[in-house]
Symmetry: C2
């Protein structure tokens, strides 16, 4: 793979290709959580490179938004999954934060309420889908229903087992309706999580982010890894691909997800809508006012 | 009033005081749309000064968000009103864009649908209110129901006439429920609007923003000015104040609204929530994992 330099001096390989999870069995232990795939440079270079994506990603975002306003039905949905402290919020703050917030629809999914549960696990997901021209971002998603639900036995095995196929049908439906899915698993090591949890405990301004339940979840790390592998393996169709983002380095994680989003927008290639009025006639009308 | 220098070298007067619409009759012709109240410096200085607000406004936003996560019920609602091209979208892009998009809830109100109309003009507004810890932003609002509704006779005069009091009751209810309102009228001159509409017509990447109906609305400028004056006069209680933002200079408008938001957050003074768990015990538990 061609390496991307921070100064953009070499042609860019597509990160979409480099981080795409290949079809077939998934073994997360073979993925290096400290890798900087597709990027050559230091942490500081990475931060600069992220900022430099801002102008282009904003431009594409506005084109997509404009298309949506003028009858287009396309949108993008970035799904962020990962263990506690893997940085879903950080990606949104630093990556999505480069874009115009008017074009973003961000939804953070917590444990479902009793009313949500009664409606089936996909109901609340459908409510949160991005409209035409929007970039939707899910901080957690319907995948929790085959992750924590499976690991912590929140439903019986036949129930979560059926969900992989239900998710595939659902995501195929989304793709057919014009939603381009970009599913990112923010992959950290258990050692990195331990450091991040310790840092939260050491910092009074971060105590609000800490939940004693995080340690309980942490004790189930191997079971979560297995559940993630199953999801990445079983729900990885061409229209709803998974990407594994090495996330022990926060700066790389932010750069990588934003780059994937940028490449996705480039592929969609939205164009400025043509005028649906007579430009000269409108200029003449304006002149008389 | 003390002027704020771009380099922050002098003590800041509160822009909240300087731009606040005083109680009593409102005459918009007395407000200079090109003023740079509270700011001393050039356009470039203004852009730099706006960027420099980013860190502090983000910090306050995160504190408010944290408070909301831990049981606090406070939030902020920025209401943006103004004639076409006055820059409601620009304020969101350049001002709100400095903040973490996770803490923002942005709603753009278009003409109400028939279903929305049947539910009363405040129904859809209530659906869009910010939750605890959030900063809500309305691009247009319930004020359209005493602006375009009044100017274009969309409802009978007794109907829109009743709405001022209904709005006052509604906004008092919001304030009592923990929502701090910040209502900004982006004030431009008709000459500036003409230039901006002409610029849209001259730029193919902006045609999607242009609507021939904008010129029809423009012909009603004096009636809109009157309707704005009525709204600013009649719905300007201490808990729901109006601010007039001189908006012919885009850089000043963005700086001013962001500064008002910053001062509002400073007044709320949200603090990092204290740990609701035993920090030492959690450190010990974490060490065993």
């Amino acid at each position: 793979m061609v390496k991307n330099r921070a100064d953009g001096s070499e042609p860019q390989a597509r990160l979409l290709d480099a981080l795409r999870v290949p079809a077939g069995a998934v073994d997360l232990s073979k993925y290096d959580t400290r890798a900087t795939t597709g990027f050559e440079g230091t942490k500081d270079d990475g931060k600069v490179a992220l900022e430099q994506l801002g102008a282009e990603v904003s431009d594409w975002q506005e084109r997509l938004f404009a298309e949506g306003r003028k009858g287009g039905d396309r949108s993008v949905l970035l799904v962020l999954q990962g263990m506690d402290t893997s940085g879903k919020g950080g990606v949104i703050r630093h990556g999505a934060g480069l874009m115009d917030p008017q074009g973003l629809r961000i939804t953070s999914f917590k444990a479902p309420t009793p009313a949500e549960k009664r409606r089936g696990f996909l109901w609340r997901i459908r409510q949160a889908l991005p409209g035409p021209g929007m970039i939707g971002i899910f901080d957690r998603s319907h995948y929790e229903d085959v992750l924590i639900a499976r690991v912590r036995n929140l439903v019986a095995p036949p129930v979560w087992n059926r969900r992989y196929e239900q998710i595939n049908e659902f995501e195929a439906e989304l793709a057919a309706s014009g939603i381009t899915l970009l599913k990112c698993f923010l992959h950290i090591s258990p050692e990195e999580q331990k450091e991040r949890l310790a840092a939260r405990l050491d910092d009074g301004t971060k105590h609000w982010k800490y939940n004693p339940g995080d340690i309980d979840e942490r004790r189930h790390w191997p079971a979560y890894a297995e559940a993630y592998e199953a999801a990445l393996e079983q729900c990885n169709g061409p229209a709803a691909p998974w990407f594994v983002i090495p996330s022990d380095r926060k700066w790389y994680r932010n750069w990588a997800v934003t780059t994937l989003l940028l490449e996705t927008l480039r592929d969609l290639d939205p164009q400025w809508p043509a005028a649906d009025f007579d430009v000269q006639a409108e200029k003449a009308r304006l002149a008389t006012t």
